[in-house]
Symmetry: C2
Subunit: 652 residues, 2 copies
């Protein structure tokens, strides 16, 4: 089977994240595998720029190239900064590690919380946008955006739970196909523009009604604020560029160099894609507004119908460029939609890794540390699926509204991470051995400081312009996640302090004086016989069999069976006036403990092990309650002696 076959099909595997460390990949595979996050955000950012500017009508939309250039400039600086992060943190912890190591664990926790919330929003935004693209080629989907989006999330979630390795190969293929399709579209579009034969977009000729604030044209102040708002929406294009810095270990050697190069390539592609999209969009006369029914008008002055469907930008571009060849435009639109879905699925892949990292620092329950454990990973995956579905439902699958939430977390992480890198260089600078090394560090620090300045400014703009549009929700979510994580960590710290062995204090290692063994008996049967034999085998100081009298007839039956079986252990019956099993036993054991507090008590409980889940309701319920009650007594050990029930009645 050739490389292509392996790419397309993968190996038939049902194993889930089999190794703690995945196999390193060549750049041509690793780069596209980590690219969907960054590429997908560039797919929807231009729409947001245009629809924000459209508030000022077509005049406003003409500002879009300048906004695009500003975003591309910030992107260049951020990419340069992250290349440094990759070189300094080749183990690939990303923003979390940078923040933790340079700014302290609390900053790390904040970045971790933001990353958790961002993962929800990545899925919600990508899938909602993907649903829009699919709806523009399959019109019946138009009227049910929420259902389609939640359905897609469910499909991705199930695929992730299965741990389908074939997804990786699909991602690599889809990224190349996406790049190729968009490049071909741009090329054909460019030729058509040069030949003056570019077909009109479906939106061609529609007029954009300026909002009330812009009815009398653009003032400088209003225009500047509008441009800032468009910038802060479009800045979502930067989301996902940090993914490569978390995945350095997926590259083959030399890992940091390959990763840094890949990031440069990816950044260039993203910037080209962003600017190219805005240019092509203006060439085809694409129109994107927030509220088509109110903002769009036919040249005749009539408003568009209430159920007017507005295609997303790349759908409009592809339809214009391939006006005469609908199948081609369907392919392009389908690939954009597919890439968006795969970007969502990649969040499902990195969330378990993120949770494992947070669990290592005790920000999350310890079990999440073992991310190769299928059941543990499943918790994270299901939480992500359910949480993002909830966001989609609450926000009505509206990409624009979801992005208002998304962008805050993205830039908060950027800013903290850049601050961390700046401090990293400050701390490292005195360690420089040569002047050349020192010079390089100074340059690096300057890059990160510039990155910090730009992302901080962007963050301020985002928070100011978006606060009432939903930024407060994501700030609340991040704060909530951080608070819970701190609570968990504090709990673990407190437990560790309580459990610390005092130096030189060997009290806890001192042996109890005597061992009292009690065997819990409800009937005389083989399971009880085994428990009795095992209890006797440990040769305890005292041994007694205990039964609680719930029903006199049964007590007599038990006594007879006991005598018949000729067990060399005395059977003691505890009275229970209220048919309760737990209370008399606990009282008995507590009395025993009080008489000899330095001894230990071991309670042997015969347990029937059933084969089907529903059978669990039929057995061991009293034992389970007793166990959970006895846990709170000091010096009492509960030993369960299992008896495996077979499928048939054959003796074993």
């Amino acid at each position: 089977m050739g490389a292509l076959g392996r790419l397309a099909l993968g190996r038939p595997t049902r194993e889930f994240a089999p190794r703690a460390k995945p196999r390193p990949l060549r750049v041509r595979y690793a780069l596209p595998l980590l690219a969907p996050d960054a590429l997908s955000s560039v797919a929807y950012a231009p729409d947001e720029i245009l629809l924000t500017l459209a508030a000022a009508g077509l005049v406003g939309m003409s500002l879009s190239p300048w906004v695009g250039l500003a975003i591309a400039a910030v992107m260049a600086v951020v990419i340069a900064s992250y290349r440094q992060t990759i070189r300094e943190y080749p183990e690939g912890g990303g923003d979390y590690t940078v923040a933790k190591q340079n700014l302290g664990l609390a900053a790390g926790g904040l970045v971790g919380g933001a990353a958790m919330v961002d993962s929800l929003l990545t899925v919600a935004v990508s899938v909602s946008c993907g649903a829009q693209y699919f709806a523009s080629i399959i019109p019946p989907l138009e009227s049910h955006p929420k259902t389609v989006a939640v359905g897609l999330v469910a499909v991705i979630m199930l695929a992730s739970l299965r741990g389908l390795k074939v997804l990786d190969n699909l991602v690599i293929l889809a990224v190349y196909a996406f790049i190729a399709a968009l490049a071909v579209t741009a090329l054909v579009g460019g030729i058509e523009v040069a030949a003056g034969r570019l077909g009109p977009s479906p939106a061609e000729g529609l007029e954009v009604v300026p909002g009330r604030d812009f009815e009398h044209g653009l003032t400088v102040l209003a225009g500047a604020f509008l441009a800032l708002r468009a910038f802060s929406s479009g800045a979502v294009a930067l989301a996902g560029v940090q993914t490569i810095s978390t995945g350095v270990q997926r590259f083959c050697d030399p890992k940091p160099r390959n990763a840094a190069r890949s990031l440069a390539v990816l950044g260039t592609a993203c910037a080209a894609l962003l600017l190219g999209t805005l240019w092509l969009g203006s060439q085809v006369g694409a129109v994107i507004v927030a509220d088509p029914a109110r903002q769009l008008r036919y040249p005749s002055g009539a408003p568009v119908p209430a159920d007017f469907h507005q295609d997303p930008l790349w759908a409009q571009i592809a339809q214009a460029v391939f006006a005469g060849a609908r199948p081609l435009s369907v392919i392009v639109i389908g690939l954009v939609g597919l890439l968006l879905i795969l970007a969502a699925s990649s969040a499902f892949r990195w969330v378990p890794a993120l949770m494992s990292m947070l669990a290592e620092d005790e920000f999350l329950p310890k079990q999440f540390y073992r991310r190769s454990d299928r059941r543990v990973a499943a918790h994270g995956i299901v939480t992500l699926g359910v949480g993002s579905s909830a966001l989609i439902m609450v926000m009505g699958a509206s990409v624009t509204r979801l992005i208002q939430l998304y962008i805050v977390g993205v830039f908060a992480s950027f800013t903290i991470s850049q601050l961390g890198m700046t401090r990293h260089w400050n701390a490292k600078l005195p360690l420089a051995k040569t002047a050349a090394e020192r010079r390089r560090m100074l340059v690096s620090r300057a890059v990160n400081a510039l990155g910090l300045a730009l992302t901080a400014v962007a963050l301020v703009i985002v928070v100011i312009t978006k606060f009432t549009h939903g930024a407060w929700i994501s700030l609340g979510l991040v704060g909530g996640a951080f608070w819970i994580m701190r609570l968990i960590r504090r709990h673990y710290r407190r437990v560790a302090a309580q459990l610390a062995l005092p130096k030189g204090d060997r009290r806890d290692l001192g042996l109890p004086s005597r061992v009292h063994v009690i065997v819990l008996v409800s009937a005389m049967n083989r399971a009880t016989a085994r428990a009795l034999a095992y209890a006797r085998a440990t040769r305890p100081s005292t041994l007694e069999a205990l039964s609680v009298a719930v029903d006199m007839a049964r007590v007599w039956e038990l006594r007879r069976a006991w005598d018949r079986a000729d067990v060399p252990v005395t059977l003691r019956i505890l009275d229970s006036p209220r048919r309760d099993i737990t209370r008399p036993l606990v009282d008995h054991i507590m009395a025993l403990r009080r008489r000899s507090p330095r001894d230990m008590v071991v309670l042997y409980i015969p347990e029937k092990v059933v084969r089907h889940w529903w059978e669990r309701w039929l057995h061991n319920r009293s034992a389970a309650r007793l166990t959970s009650r006895l846990r709170h007594l000091r010096g009492v050990v509960v030993a369960t002696v299992p008896w495996q029930l077979g499928p048939s009645e054959e003796p074993k």
Copy 2:
């Protein structure tokens, strides 16, 4: 505090069913406590008779006294039969015991399943009907019957979960008040009739449109079938008379005699109530139809409005009798509603008792046997609340539709129980010592045989006339309940057979050759130290400490701490390439077992006992998974050594 105060207030108690056997009560308290089931069904039966007959217009409704008399006759026979049951089964098992002891366990199971389904329907019917009565005095409730009914179920369920003893006293008071109110109403109504001054019912003057089948009057055949249908609906009046036979033990000595007398009193009251209601209803010109919008017409010929509210029968009667004194009618209607609600609440009281009885015969999970256990009883109560709410929602809180389901189960139980009693006399007859005794038995058998004949005929009528109206649903539910109960019993039987100690076979009692003890270690702390000390105290043949290497840094830390603590036990580290804890340990223990299959292995696991439920997610997860895996290995005992985490950091 006097008797009245105790009646009204009860003792302040938070205890739940504190004794397995409740205190016996004098007849004046026991009878009303057990009466609501029977009385409530007589409260809604006349409505059903009238609305069935109304299909033939006012002509049809004139048949109602005859139908009422037929039901009263059946009731007399059934009451006589149950008085025999009470005398023969004074321990009070009711239909279930009668069926089980005379017809075999399968018949008992069938009766038990029917009783479970009937409990759901008692609650659904009583509460839906109670909601109607409340709606007729609080008009805003009219338009939300389902919400009101489900809300009432929730209130009753919560009160039952709290185990409010004061409910008992409320029931006793309410029954006397109900009887008094209805007697006064009947008396005043009778005087008004005699004086010719009876006020008109709100429905007075409305015309009833006969259904299409009866447009041209009543043929004999159609009339007979209609009367049969009315009989089978009205026969619901018999529901609940068997309650006293299950509660014989609640009466003071001589229990059977007091209970049998009480039943006679109750039966007389029910029959009087049924006939009196029908008579008063016809006197006031009350009109009850299934579908007011289609079946009712003003004298002018105009149909009633679509939102016409039809009051239930006693509401119409009370309003007519107390036409000039609305507060009095409100009190009467309110008391009828209250009695219905209390009848529902009594089902919540006897369902745990029923489940306990079924659990004793292994038809239900064993834990239900201990019905004084609050948490066990809660399962039954919540199931009943949720199930009856579901029925109410599905059936739209329609009393008529719910009764179609209810009546089948009621008569199925009656018939099986009467069959059982007839066989009981057949078996007992040869044991008669004197001719007088024999004669008494023959009379008794004749009574039960007559009861069997009548209830069997009624059952056939019910199934035939109601099958498509919903009887099939309740037959399905009863069948399903019976099937599940049989499954459970079969499982217990099979387990018992597997566990039976073979006679003379002392293999299971033979001691294992050696005891290998393993202590599971994840970190060196006080909890681990205690587990080590306890494990050493049992002086095993071999002892080792085991840790699974998930992370090299932690392994080195553990080794250092181990050496520092100077523990006289060797620490063994198991490698885990996949960061999985369970697999390496299970493999290790299985290897040990294979080397020496006649030995036993005890795994000591230090367990952190937390104080809050949410903290459980933060600890012992790996141990829990390991334990559930090890359960399936023979000869492996898991002993958990608890360490109680304190609220603060103080050492203890």
